[in-house]
Each structure stands twice: as structure tokens, then as C-alpha cells.
Amino acid sequence: MTEKNVQFKVFRYKQGDTAPHYDTFTVTVNERTTVLDALEAIRRDQDGTLTFRHSCHHASCGTCGMRVNGKEVLACVTNVMELGTPEVVVEPLQNAPIISDLVVDMGGFYETFSQAHLPLIRESEYLPESDVAEGVPFHMRLESCLECGLCLSACPVVGTDPEYLGPATLAAVWRVVQEPRGEDPEALLAWVDSEQGCWRCHAAMECTEVCPSNVDPGGAIMALRGELTRRKIGHLLGQG
């Protein structure tokens, strides 16, 4: 196993500080070390005051979202050596208030997102040729969105307008439109058909780029627009 010493330049901020600063730590890593592993090592061996979130350690929960070398990632699956830089910069997600160090306040996001009423499960589009187990009509799986906030951090519009519903919420609405599961897609379509809804997007597509879970929020937003446009034209032609 190869080992290397890597510098981690970590964003630090505690309530009451007049400004944030960066602390540099050296961690010995091997080919399997992830950024989350390194942060845990720092907290355990070097600075017990370093604050960060984590949970599942395998890209299912979305808790460890942060920026590594300027890009939004899940720290638990970001391999340090594969980054290829002698110094790794670790910073919190953008566009959300900072609670402490790498921990941001996701409350505002949850408040908006919960209004999409996205069900937890969905029909699975995977394994179409596989045999379904006896007694099971078709495959189901969990919805893709981890609510990790990477898309919100990467989106230039979320950065410029706090009232924008944002890619995660809009993607959730599209999922409900596609597969309502007892929710009301019409009310949700009316909700996103607004200046703070799907029309606010400027097609930077950064959300889709950074999403670790194949939600493709950019595609979902454009699909919402396509649907609303079709209805508008139908309405126009229907009346003409």
C-alpha cells in the first residue's frame, strides 16, 4: 500500500468569529483514503474542534456534501489520491448560512423542498429484463434525490436569488408530475410556473454536473418547461 502525506486546507468558522479562516493539516493517506476519512483523522488526532457532518459513508444519505478543490462532492466517496493535488482545499457548500466550519444550515432548503411532497419510493426503471420475485408485481426503489444540497451550491441562480425554488425542489416536482403516487401534480405545476420557479433557471446545468445521484435536475427543469410550454400552446390553439 502506497502512503503519501497530503495537506488539507480546511475552511474554519465558529459563531462569533469576525471572519472565517483556513487551517492546514497534514494527513497520511493511502490509495483508499477518502476526504471524509481524512477529516475524521484530523478531528481524531489533530483538532477535535473541527465540525463536519457525516452519516452513511457510502453516498446514500447526502449528509457529507461539501466543496473539495472548489467542486461540490460527497466527501465519503471522494478519493484523496485521485484528486491529484498536493494540497486539498475543503470548504462548506455555498448559498447556505454557515453554522460551524463545514456544516451549513439546510433548514431553508428543507422548508422549500418539503413542499414538493416527493414520495420516498418510486417505480424502478432498472433491471427491466430481470425476473421479478414471486408475489412482487414490479421493482421499486428509493427516489434518487439524497437532498445533499450539492446542486444548490453549484447553481448560479440560487446564489443570486434566494427566492428561487432551486434545482432540487424543481426536480422533485417533476418526479411527482411523472409519478404522482397520490400527490397533486397540477397544483405543483402551478407552483413552479412562476418567476421563482422553473422559468428562473438559466440553463447553466451545473446542478446536473454535480449531482451524485443521477437526479439530473437540469433535465427535470427543462422537462417542466416543456410540459408547461405544451400546455400554453395547446391553450392558445384551443382558444383560437
Binding site: 468558522y13 433548514g107 431553508g108 441562480v157 438559466h202 440553463a203 447553466a204 454536473e209 427543462m222 410540459e227
Partner: protein, 133 residues
């Protein structure tokens, strides 16, 4: 920077210049930022153009003097920049119009690069036209 005097958990960080923060961002974000910058440049040109056209109301002398200036070789690079802005904004605009109603979203990056090749070709043709006319 961060507001450290009043910590309001419901307020997101306001970053009005976020669309210009392109470090670590990908093709789509760059395309959007450049589209806006080109658009702003074209708006300034439009205003300038309307002012220049007011010379027409001042009669043949004023206008023909301006035309002589506009044919100066110093103006050529500005014309090329203008044409580049027009071509970029126009062709990327077509891409935005398409993906903006859900057409070709998954191929948006290929679309971008293809259009950039077309921009380069048309820009070359246009510049040759400026020089030889």
C-alpha cells in the same frame, strides 16, 4: 462576506455575482456567463448604434464623415469583436431556446461545441468579408 453579527438561519448567503464565479464550473455555466456578457455588450452596441444613426438626421455631411471614419482599418478589430458577440449570442441562444423547452437537454454540451465550430467558421467568413469589401 459572511454576516457574523446577525446569524439568521433562514437567510441564504447572497451572492449577486455568483454567475461570474466560474472556477470549478463546467461548460454550461461558462456558456451562460458568456451569453450574458455578449448580450450586455450588444446592448451597449445597440445604444451606440442608435446614437450614431442620429447623425443621419443631421444631414449628408455629418453622416458621410462618420462613414469615412467607420471604414478606417482601426475599426476592423472592433467589427470582428462585434460579429463574434453576435454569432456567439445568437447561436448559443438557439441552444438555450431548444434545451429550454426540453429538446436535446442530454446533448447540451455536444450542441455547444458544435455551435462554437459554426461560430468560428462564420466569424472567419465575416472577417474576410470585412477585409475584402
Amino acid at each position: 462576506m459572511l454576516d457574523t453579527t446577525r446569524f439568521n438561519t433562514r437567510r441564504r448567503q447572497r451572492r449577486p455575482g455568483a454567475w461570474l464565479h466560474l472556477k470549478g464550473r463546467h461548460v454550461g455555466a461558462w456558456a451562460f456567463a458568456l451569453n450574458r456578457l455578449a448580450g450586455l455588450g450588444l446592448v451597449l452596441y445597440l445604444i451606440l448604434h442608435l446614437f450614431v444613426l442620429s447623425l443621419l438626421a443631421k444631414g449628408p455631411r455629418a453622416w458621410d464623415d462618420f462613414v469615412a471614419l467607420a471604414k478606417s482599418p482601426l475599426i476592423l478589430p472592433l467589427d470582428v469583436i462585434l460579429l463574434a458577440g453576435i454569432l456567439y449570442h445568437g447561436l448559443n441562444g438557439v441552444r438555450i431556446a431548444l434545451i429550454g423547452v426540453g429538446i436535446g437537454v442530454r446533448q447540451h454540451k455536444t450542441m455547444f461545441w458544435t455551435l462554437m465550430v459554426i461560430v468560428a467558421v462564420l466569424l472567419a467568413v465575416g472577417t474576410w468579408g470585412f477585409i475584402t469589401v
